[in-house]
Each structure stands twice: as C-alpha cells, then as structure tokens.
C-alpha cells in the first residue's frame, strides 16, 4: 500500500472501488422508489456524501440530472411553507441603532442578506457590527469570513468602534477566517469546486455554534478564479447551504456601474438587499442606507442617513415611524414676563418646539438665554448648543444685560456644547445632539441658531434634520428652543418655511424703522393650543434684560420708540389738562355746596328764632288768659257773696268771653 496517501482516504478509495456495483443497484432501487425527484443519483448521492458539491458530473455512467424546474418549484414551496408557517417572518435583530426600527426588527432570520455599497461606504463595519452586537446583545455567536482583510487588520479596524474581536474570539463566540485568493499563485486545470470554502465555513460555524455569518466580500472570489460558471454555481450552492443551516448571513458586495453589485450577486441573494451609499454634497459627505428589498416583510423604503460614530453605526430614520409622542399640558415660562403674557400669561408648553426668528440684533440669543436661565432657576436642566458664539462670549454678553448665567453653569444645570456647523455633516450633528441629550438628560435644548446649518446642507436636508431633531426631542418630552436668523429684505415668514410647520410656537422678532430709529418689536406668529396675543409688542434690551413695554394702542395706531414716547407725552399732557378741568369744576361745585349749606343754616336759624318767638307769644297769651279767668272767678266769688239771690252767673260768664275776644 502507498504510504504517501493518507490511510483513511486510501480506505475510502478502495471502498469506493469495491462498492460501486452495489451502489449502482442502489441507484435503480432509489430511482424506483423516489419518482418525485426523477433522478435516483441525486438521492443516492445525498446518502453517500455528507455534504456533496453540486455539479453535472456523471458517475458510474449514471447521468446526474438536476431537478427540473417544476421539481425545484415544489422544493421551494416546501421550503417556504416550512419557514413561513408562523405568521410573521422571524427576524434577527442587528442591534444597530435605528436599523432594526426601519426594518421592523432586523434582518431576515436564517436567510442571507446582501449589503451592497461602494468602497468605503461602511459594508465591513455594518457586517462586523451585526456580528458583534449579535454576540453581545442577542447571544448569537458568529463567523466572519473575510476575503479582503486579515483577522488582525479587521480587529484593528473595528477596535475604533469599541469592539474587541480578540476577546470575542477568546470566549469562543466569534470565529474569523481570512480567506486569501491570489490568482497569480493559482493554476487552473480542469474541473473543480469550492468545497474547501464550505469546509472552512462549516468548521468555523461548528466551532462557535454560530447563528450568524458574514462573508466580506465574497466577490473577491471572482478575481481569484477564472471560471465564472463554476463560481456562480458554487455561490448559488453557498447561499442555499447557509439557508439550510438557518444561518442569518450578511454578504457584502461592491456596487456595480449600472447594477446593484459588480458581479450580480443580487441574483442569488434575493431575500433582502441593503444598499449603502456615500455621497458628497457641497463638500459635506453623508452616508445613506436604503433597504432596496426585503422579501416577506414591510420596511422603510426611504434613504436613511447613517453615521459611523465611535459607537458603531447609527441609522437615523428621517422621521420617526409614527407621530405618537405624548404631549404635556404643563406650561413652562419663557423667562420673559412680557412674553409669557403674550402667550396666554403662562409661557410655552413643556415639550413643545419654539422657534424664535428675527433679523440680526433683535435679541434672539437673549430670549433664549432668558429661557435657559429661568429654567435653571426653577431647577431644570438646559442644554445650550451655540453655533456662532463661544460659551464665554454668550455669558459675557448676557451679563451686560443683567443676565448672569454663571450660577447655572456652576450648578451644572446649564451646559454649553458649542459646535461649529461646518465641522461635520448634518447627520453628525444629529448624532451629536442625540448623544448629548442621552448624556445630559436635559429638560430643554436650545439650538442657536439653526440657520447656520444652511452652510452645510440644502434647505430640504436641513428640514429633514430638524424634523428628526424635533421629533426626537419631542418624544423625550424636551422643550426645544431654536433661533433663526432672518436676513433683511426677505419676507420674514417665507425664509423659515423649512421649519415653520414643525414648530409649535413661533415668535417673530423684528426691528421697526421709523422716524430715524429702529425699535424692536415681538409678536407671536403662532402658538398651537393656546390663546395668544395678536399684538406687536415693543421691547427693549435694558440692564435688566428683555423688558416689554406696555404697547401704545390708540387712535394714532400702534407706535413704537420715540414716536410712542412723544405720543404718550402729548396724551399725558392732555390727560393732565383734563384732570385739571375736572378739579376746577369739582372745586366750584364744592364752593357752591358750601354756600348753599351756609344759606340753609341761616334760614334754619331764622326759622328757629321765629319759632321760638311764636312759641313764647303763645305761652304768654296762655298765661294771660289763665290769669284773667282766675280773676273773673275771684270776682264772681266776690259777687256771689254780695248778690246772694241773683241767679245769672252764666250770662256774666259769656259776657266775659266776648270781652276776651
């Protein structure tokens, strides 16, 4: 026996030689029993070789026939029936922020997914995050088959995202196999298949008991092997192999010129296709992700911007899937008493979005700072994101109008996070905001000013950014104050069209120019869900901050500034005059009353005198009559004594009476 040949193989070789007649009898038996498959060889082959390569090879003179189309369809039906018995397609969550949201749960479980993209679009990162998160969050071990990078390079590259692949490998959760294909080292002679790849993959899968597989990028094979027909057949087999083992797989591929992938891999991987894109617009690059296809599941069809941050990929849905945030009816002071008054007396709604727009120098930042200060005084936390001024500059400037932000900063309730808009793209801004909010957990966020974003994106992009910002903050019930610079000459409402529909309360600040001066006025353009003033109110930036001035509203119209002051002076003079007149009249009346009172007193005194006199006279008269009667009685007495027989006293009495009269 030859020694160069391995013992086991030798055995097999001889065994095969001996058993071939027996095998051919098997063929006929199998062919008789399995009429459905049509080809006995196929069945038998399955029995003999554990995992056979597919090929149109004849063997023992028995022609192997591939299953015909109806056969295949039948098989497919059987397969889909098996996998789709539960109503919803089972999904394997990726753990990638935002991605599971737009796919309603992740990648199709147990199926291969194609991730196509240009070089540098983040395919490798996407797939490695899929594996790492699968291991760390969902306890699904994975295999990374790298065709382009060595395991060391890959480990180094993803270490920047905080993934420690070495540790995962050590814990036997991850297997990395670097597959190296170099055409110049390979000579092709005759028929071959890629069983070696399958063996390696199977080994790796078995090693860690993998549920997830990444092939990055399998297209490298096309540069290594010249025979495309073999390669395609093998790829088809590979994807079926993955499916049969219920492995959730991510296959990456380079983007082709006019096709999805350079080598048409989408032909084989038909379950889900994700395209990653990397576009530069106005010198700012944005990464985007789109789910082109997702068989058996609904998915967001938009292009979603995504970021590669220091914690991996974050996909940012343009808008949150639903508008379901719970709103608060709680109110929160704007920090300016006059403005609160204009907003129904109680300020903004908590968790609403407020836009303060105005021309240069109208005090947008001041309003925002007032709000921040008031919030912090009430114990709230405020995240202030200035985009034009440094924090110390804002603090100094606010100090000049008597607004001291230093205590809030010291208490840690106010936090400035300056970010130059041009430093990075819109998505990065969004991510930064997300991260800061998660970190600081503020009650309110101030963006000052949002118009700075215009430098880094088109209006539509900014709108989408702000929509996402406001959506996110609203869902967190965080009050958002945005300031926006309006340029002179533009229609003041028009220039903010990008965000106007997003905001709940819109306060317009503008300067009114008349009689050689500019005066600042504010008005509430809209404020959802509350009654608010329809007046233009003048305010000044005084040493005590923003101070609203009682508006002049009169027959001369609404006036501001010195016009208002002079008008007020005139009116004051008029009022003073009027009140003097009234005083005068009142005094005259008083005098008249006093005069009358005196007269009344005089008359009364006179009357009383007369009354007294009369009463005295009556009394005297009465006394006199009494005396007379007494006298008469005395005389009568006397007479009675003298004229004893005379009986006429009555006559004498009546005569007396007449005399008295």
């Amino acid at each position: 026996m030859p020694t160069g040949i391995s013992g086991r193989l030798r055995q097999r070789f001889t065994a095969w030689g001996k058993s071939s007649p027996a095998a051919s009898t098997d063929v006929s038996a199998a062919a008789a029993t399995t009429s459905r498959m049509g080809c006995g060889t196929h069945e038998r082959r399955k029995c003999v070789v554990p995992d056979p390569p597919i090929g149109n090879r004849g063997r023992n003179g028995c022609l192997y026939r591939r299953p015909t189309k109806p056969d295949r369809e039948e098989m497919n039906v059987a397969r889909t029936k098996r996998t789709s018995e539960p109503s919803a397609l089972p999904k394997a969550p990726t753990g990638i922020i935002g991605f599971d949201e737009i796919t309603f749960g992740g990648l199709p479980k147990g199926r291969p997914t194609l991730v196509a993209g240009e070089p540098g679009s983040g395919k490798t990162l996407f797939s490695s995050e899929f594996l790492v998160r699968g291991i760390t969050q969902f306890d699904e071990p994975g295999v990374f088959m790298a065709f382009e990078e060595t395991a060391e390079d890959l480990t180094k590259n993803v270490a920047s995202l905080g993934f420690d692949l070495n540790d995962l490998v050590r814990r036997n959760k991850l297997a990395i196999d670097f597959v190296y294909v170099e055409r110049s080292e390979i000579e092709e002679t005759g028929e071959y298949d890629l069983e070696g790849l399958f063996v390696r993959l199977a080994l790796a899968v078995q090693q860690v008991n993998a549920k997830r597989v990444v092939l990055d990028t399998v297209e490298a094979l096309f540069s290594g092997f010249t025979n495309p027909s073999i390669l395609r057949a093998e790829l088809r087999r590979l994807f079926r192999w993955l499916k049969e083992r219920d492995l959730t797989a991510v296959i990456t591929a380079e983007r082709g010129e006019n096709t999805l992938t350079r080598y048409g891999l989408e032909e084989y991987v038909a379950d889900a296709v994700i395209v990653l894109d990397h576009r530069v617009h106005d010198e700012i690059s944005t990464r985007r992700l789109r789910v082109v296809k997702y068989r058996g599941s609904s998915h967001g069809t938009n292009e979603y911007p995504f970021l590669i941050g220091d914690r991996g990929i974050s996909v940012l849905p343009i808008t949150s899937i639903g508008l379901h945030h719970v709103v608060s009816s709680q109110r929160i002071s704007s920090g300016v008493a006059g403005l609160d008054l204009m907003l129904g007396g109680r300020g903004y709604y908590r968790g609403s979005t407020i836009l303060i727009s105005g021309t240069a120098g109208t005090g947008k930042t001041t309003f925002a700072a007032h709000f921040a200060k008031k919030l912090c005084q009430d114990g709230g936390r405020c995240l202030y994101l200035p985009m034009e001024e440094s924090p110390s500059q804002i603090v100094r400037n606010m100090h000049s109008i008597g607004l001291d932000l230093q205590p809030c900063l010291k208490k840690g309730l106010l936090r400035f996070e300056p970010m130059r808009s041009t430093l990075y793209g819109l998505e990065m801004h969004l991510l930064t905001i997300h991260r800061l909010v998660e970190e600081f957990k503020p009650d309110a966020v101030v963006l000052d000013p949002i118009t700075n974003y215009l430098a880094i994106g088109a209006e539509a992009d900014i709108k989408s950014l702000l929509t996402r910002v406001t959506d996110y903050l609203k869902s967190q019930r965080i009050t958002t104050v945005m300031t926006s610079l309006t340029h002179g000459g533009e229609t003041i409402e028009g220039s903010n069209a990008a965000v106007s529909s997003l905001v709940d309360t819109w306060i317009l600040l503008r300067s009114v120019e008349c009689s050689g001066e500019r005066n600042r006025v504010a008005y509430v353009l809209k404020s959802r869900g509350m009654s608010h003033s329809n007046q233009l109110s003048e305010y000044t930036l005084s040493a005590d901050g923003v101070r609203f001035i009682q508006p002049y509203i009169g027959p001369a119209g609404a006036l501001t500034g010195s016009a208002r002051v002079s008008r007020e002076a005139i009116e004051q003079a008029q009022a003073a005059e009027a009140s003097q007149q009234i005083d005068l009249k009142r005094r005259e009346l008083d005098r008249k009353r006093r005069m009358l009172d005196a007269q009344i007193a005089l008359l009364q005194a006179r009357f009383e005198g007369e009354q007294q006199e009369t009463e005295q006279a009556i009394a005297q008269q009465r006394t006199r009559a009494d005396i007379l009667q007494q006298d008469r009685r005395d005389i009568a007495k006397l007479r009675h004594i003298a004229n004893h027989g005379r009986e006429q006293p009555a006559r004498a009495k009546s005569a007396n009476k007449g005399k008295k009269k």
């Binding site: 193989l9 000579e187 890629l194």
Partner: protein, 111 residues
C-alpha cells in the same frame, strides 16, 4: 497502482536529504471521494511518474477528515494541488486533466 506509489514515495524520501532543490513535495487537498478528487489523484500520479520519477511525495489531505488544515494553505477550491517544495509555493486547482497546465504549474515547463 498503490504499491507502485509506495515505492516511489520511499525513494523520494531517501533522496530528500541529497537534493532539496530537486525534490517535489506535493499535497493534494480533497474533500471526500468525489469523482473530481479521484480523477485528480490519478492524473497527478501519472504525471509525477512520468516527469518526476523518484523525487516526489504526494500527501493527500481529506478536508472532511481534517477541516482545520484548509485554513493553513488557504484552500478554497477542491481539488487543490499544493507544491510545498521546491519553493515558491504554488497551487494548481482542478482535476489536473490538462497535463500541460499542470506541468507549467509545477514549474516543470517554462510558462
């Protein structure tokens, strides 16, 4: 056929120490007894006998038995013939039915 190879292998091993440059250490990677593997082995043997008589060894590695060995030599295609010696390492894939190309691959013929 097997006895023949046995002899050759022995002689090859004996020769190894003398002329390293003139010695062919070949590895044939297969995965089970597939027709392609059998063809490849038969072809290889014939070619070796014809051109390298007495100065070669053939080691057949069945990846179904030893899957771990696939990684070391970066084996993807089956069958793959690896020329370990003389250096540089060269790979020839396929059932080795094209003798001309095999000879070129083994550097027995100028390219």
């Amino acid at each position: 056929m097997t006895a023949d190879k046995d002899n050759k292998a022995k002689t090859a091993a004996a020769d190894q120490s003398d002329t390293d440059r003139d010695f062919w250490e070949l590895r044939l990677y297969v995965a089970g007894q597939t027709p392609k593997s059998l063809t490849a082995f038969a072809n290889l043997k014939r070619i070796c006998e014809e051109h390298l008589q007495g100065k070669y060894t053939i080691e057949v590695i069945d990846l179904l038995e030893n899957p771990r060995l696939a990684q070391g030599d970066q084996i993807l295609a089956i069958p793959t013939l690896v020329r370990k010696l003389p250096e540089p390492v060269r790979k020839i894939i396929g059932d080795l039915s094209n003798e001309e190309r095999v000879l070129i691959g083994l550097d027995l013929r100028p390219r």
